[in-house]
């Protein structure tokens, strides 16, 4: 019968370890064994996107992975976006544009948006809509999230030294 497995991985730049059954979902492992409750569970069937994290640099749904699969991986969760008290430009943009209400989808939304910007750093509003359709929000109607992602993307490009078009 399944024995607990040791897992060593990097989360938000820090070496972490934990121990759990093979069936333990990665999202539960993050929340319970590692105490990182910022990543939320909305459905457990990979549809709502609230559980989205960065797995080796790409967004993935942590409710559809087992913790054991993250052995040796580098993860970034919402807790790893800010630098101390300084918000990530995308978090700041969400704040300024009122892109969150209850905040439950927000961690997943931030990660999914940032992931989308990796493949399309200067998206149009329609492209943003398509990009963030990976995560469900029930409160905002997405209008302000689209504005925030546009502004956040611009802020990130400025930080990276790219001129605005």
């Amino acid at each position: 019968m399944p024995q607990p497995v040791d897992i060593r991985l990097t989360v938000n730049g820090q070496a972490r370890e934990g121990r759990c059954e093979p069936r333990k979902l990665l999202v539960d492992f993050l929340r319970e064994e590692l105490g990182l409750t910022g990543t939320h569970i909305g459905c457990e069937h990979g549809i709502c996107g609230a559980c989205t994290i960065f797995y080796n640099g790409e967004a993935a749904r942590s409710c559809l992975m087992f913790a054991v699969q993250a052995e040796g991986a580098e993860l970034i969760t919402v807790e790893g976006l800010a630098k101390g008290e300084e918000l990530h430009p995308m978090q700041q943009a969400f704040h300024e544009h009122h892109a969150l209400q209850c905040g439950f989808c927000t961690p997943g939304m931030l990660i999914a948006a940032l992931d989308y910007l990796k493949i399309n750093p200067d998206p149009s509003e329609d492209e943003i809509r398509e990009g963030i359709s990976a995560v469900l929000c029930r409160c905002t109607g997405y209008v302000n999230i689209v504005k925030a992602v546009k502004a956040g993307a611009a802020a990130m490009r400025r930080e990276a030294g790219q001129p605005d078009p």
Partner: protein, 806 residues
């Protein structure tokens, strides 16, 4: 962000809630860790209707890690259900409105029968949720299946199988209201039309499901409950009653809540079972609902079937309106008649209808119970009324906007007595608003009707079908019975406010900080808000029905007045002047016209303390705190007009929303940014309700939407950009002029979209009088008919195909 002296009401302050939520430091119920906490999982009925013969928990109980396996038969002995208590209607209403209601109390776990798929039959408590589910899978149920009742009409037919045998009926409730004389007005009307409208079953579907945790403290014989709820005081009251504990020993707190929209607005069996288990086991117990459970056991909504008859004249003026409707309530009726009565009260909307008769029946069926969701009965009313207006326009060959204008209550008729009662028992009086102007604003914002009609004709020549739809509504907001606020000046000088209101994303911490900052002339950062905690205030109603801003601001003001009087008396004592010479300024109290003569609120609070060497003048008691309960006389009325332009692809049936405009009047707005956010969210929910979301049941009572793969919540790709225009007619009824604003978009969206789709497809002569309106239905409706070369002449009810629900 502290903003100095400027008034804060009316400004789009950024939210103080954001930082923790953005950085993953919010605390939702699933984030709550308690030492030695156990985890619960419920065993839920796989069938819709059955007698429970036996529940065998023996194998489950023996699973390692299981602390307890409990079935309904045992629970009902230890925790007998309360008598019918959930329903509360004021006597002003019950003595005037013809009605009948039954409200059987749902036990914590089903013990005699199961009445819907998903109803809880047993609970397992174990060291982890994983282990609890392992054990739950080993529970064996011996159920005698009974025929399932899956339609409200079938439920009310003679000899229908009874859901609640002791009631001898499946009719949970009925009421009727009348105004004027419908029979004679209808008989005398030059034109009449009749239609059936069906507004289907869908639900709030917040991204956070439900959750309850409880901790029993033997030292004090007290219990704390954390619940993702909108109604902490209600939960506290019922837990205290059912556990036989004084309310003072029961505390209920809502932490961060991930969306409510009504579905978290009443007391569920789990809210009672989990605290019971915590006390029984002597260890904290937590239950987190998963999405599948949520679909099967958290309340559904809408699901109303209306038979409407309208009598009207040649000008399209509605002379008489009769509506008989049935609400499919599911297996239990936890919030009684509130929702259907809202439907009746809002049916006439912004229109002058002198003769009105509405009768409603609420039917029990073998489905998940039906309660309030964003709008709570209003969208159903608006759908029926707004479709009727368009149908009247169609019969007469008039523009729907024009028929609305002809029927609307004019601004000079305000305040307008509608002639029926609200559910608080008070006569409905629309206090303020300019409905025609709001409609015009919406139409202007989409570019005007004439310009649209030109574009529509051009597009039709190219084989493209654009449509314009309008939805107008009024909303009674800020309903009682009451809301409370405690205002206290903290010795640090901050203003502390607590209330039973709770936030599920509406930004109340920010809104109330703005209100209090203005009331006390302090910076918003110097306001401390505690919400959703029964320990912070003895009584509260909770957040639902767009009520919190209105009612709580009034309560804050009344409490503040009393505290201010005291503060001035004490400050006067400290400054050696008359209280009348004082004013609030800059976080303190100062002498009018003498800039230097101030004393800080901190000093005043310290001086207010009991004990030796206090700073109070004689006759002034210690303490600088007041709790006041505001019992609103009645509701205030906000108003909105929605206009939508859709592009319908008749080959696939896809509906694209080309433009969407909301003209909204909710009076004085505390924080425009937050109000717009509410409108946008409500609008997205309305789109989902019309085009995407459904909770269909098969003939055996199985719910066919078991996951979010089936229940289609709109994504960003499904919700267009929106244009919002605002009117700000202050309500004369509320202290600060705030009507309530929350339900916003959700109420009118289904109607506006349905009207737009019908308008787009008018060459095909189709009508859509039920929701959802799905692509397949559109294709079916247009396929047999070929579009006529000219737009159909809007024949008088004859000819054309009536597609669905007609």
């Amino acid at each position: 962000m502290s903003e100095g002296r400027a008034p804060h009401i009316g400004r789009s302050l950024l939210r103080r809630e954001d930082r923790r939520l953005l950085t993953g430091r919010g605390q939702f119920i699933a984030d709550l860790e308690l030492p030695r906490m156990l985890h619960a999982a419920f065993v839920r009925s796989p069938v819709a209707h059955a007698r429970i013969r036996a529940v065998d928990l023996s194998v489950a109980a023996a699973v390692p890690g299981v602390a307890l396996a409990l079935g309904g038969a045992h629970l009902v002995q230890e925790l007998p259900p309360l008598p019918d208590t959930q329903l509360s209607l004021p006597s002003k209403w019950t003595s005037h409105v013809e009605h009948e209601f039954h409200n059987p109390q749902q036990p914590g776990l089903a013990h005699d029968k199961v009445r819907h798929v998903g109803e809880a039959i047993a609970v397992i408590v174990a060291e982890s949720r994983y282990a609890a589910e392992d054990a739950a899978a080993l529970v064996s149920l011996d159920l005698d299946a009974l025929p399932a009742v899956v339609s409200a009409e079938a439920a009310l037919a003679p000899n229908a199988p009874l859901i609640h045998d002791h009631l001898r009926t499946n009719m949970f409730g009925a009421f009727s209201i009348t105004k004027g004389n419908v029979n004679s007005a209808m008989a005398g009307a030059p034109h009449r039309l009749q239609r059936r409208f069906y507004h289907h079953r869908y639900a709030a579907m917040p991204i956070e499901c439900r959750g309850v945790a409880a901790l029993y403290e033997p030292r004090t014989d007290a219990i704390t409950i954390w619940s993702a709820t909108q109604v902490v005081h209600w939960v506290r009251r019922e837990v205290a009653a059912i556990l036989g504990m004084p309310e003072a020993r029961v505390r209920c707190v809502a932490l961060d809540v991930g969306g409510g929209f009504g579905v978290k607005g009443h007391v569920y069996p789990e809210d009672l079972v989990i605290p019971f288990l915590a006390r029984r086991l002597g260890r904290p117990v937590r239950w987190i609902e998963d999405r599948h459970e949520h679909l099967l056991s958290a309340a559904h909504s809408r699901d109303q079937l209306h038979e409407v008859e309208a009598g009207f004249d040649d000008d399209g003026r509605i002379l008489a309106l009769r509506d008989k409707f049935i609400l499919d309530c599911g297996a239990w009726n936890p919030i009684g008649g509130g929702v259907p009565y809202n439907t009746a009260a809002h049916l006439a909307g912004p229109y002058k209808i002198e003769n009105l008769a509405v009768s409603a029946r609420t039917a029990a069926t073998n489905k998940v119970p039906n309660t309030a969701y964003r709008g709570a009965g209003r969208p159903e009313a608006v759908f029926a009324m707004e479709r009727i207006i368009d149908l009247v326009a169609g019969e007469l060959g008039l523009e729907p906007a024009e028929v609305r204008r002809r029927n609307m209550i004019r601004p000079d008729a305000m305040p307008y007595r509608a002639g029926i009662l609200y559910r608080d028992g008070e006569p409905i009086v629309y206090d303020s608003g300019n409905y025609p102007a709001g409609l015009q604003q919406a139409l202007d914002a989409i570019g005007g009707v004439e310009a649209f009609r030109r574009r529509q004709r051009e597009m039709r020549r190219e084989g493209r079908y654009l449509g314009l739809g309008i939805g107008c509504y009024v909303e009674g907001t800020g309903v009682g019975p009451f809301e409370g606020a405690t205002v206290r000046i903290d010795p640090s000088g901050r203003v502390y406010v607590s209330s039973g209101a709770s936030s599920q994303g509406q930004g109340m911490e920010t809104i109330f900080a703005q209100i209090v900052a203005d009331a006390w002339r302090v910076a918003p950062d110097d306001v401390v808000i505690t919400l959703a905690d029964t320990a912070a205030i003895p009584a509260g109603s909770g957040t639902f029905a767009s009520r919190s801003t209105v009612t709580l601001s009034a309560a804050i003001h009344h409490a503040s007045e009393r505290v201010r009087e005291k503060a001035f008396a004490i400050a006067g004592n400290l400054l050696e002047c008359a209280p009348d010479d004082l004013e609030l300024r800059d976080g303190g109290v100062g002498v009018v016209g003498v800039p230097g003569a101030t004393v800080s609120l901190a000093k005043v609070a310290q001086a207010a303390r009991p004990g030796w060497d206090h700073g109070r003048p004689p006759g002034i008691d210690a303490g600088l705190e007041e709790t006041r309960y505001w019992e609103p006389q009645t509701v205030t009325w906000s108003y909105a007009a929605h206009a939508a332009i859709v592009d319908v692809d008749p080959e696939t049936g896809r509906v694209a929303i080309d433009k969407y405009v909301i003209a909204h009047d909710c009076g004085v707005v505390v924080n425009p940014l937050l109000v717009e956010g509410q409108i946008a969210g409500g609008t997205a929910q309305g789109i989902g309700g019309v085009l995407l979301e459904e909770l269909p049941y098969d003939s055996e009572g199985q719910l066919l939407a078991g996951s979010l793969a089936d229940y289609l919540v709109p994504t960003a790709g499904d919700v267009p950009d929106m244009t919002m225009v605002h009117q700000h007619t202050p309500s004369p009824l509320t202290r600060l002029g705030f009507p309530g604003g929350g339900a916003g978009g959700g109420v009118a969206r289904p109607a506006a979209l349905a009207n737009a789709i019908c308008d787009a497809l008018s060459p095909f002569g189709v009508e859509f009088n039920q929701t959802p309106i799905k692509p397949e239905q559109i294709v079916k409706a247009v396929r047999p008919a070929r579009p006529s070369p000219r737009p159909s002449p809007r024949a008088r009810g004859e000819g054309g195909t009536r597609a669905a629900g007609g």
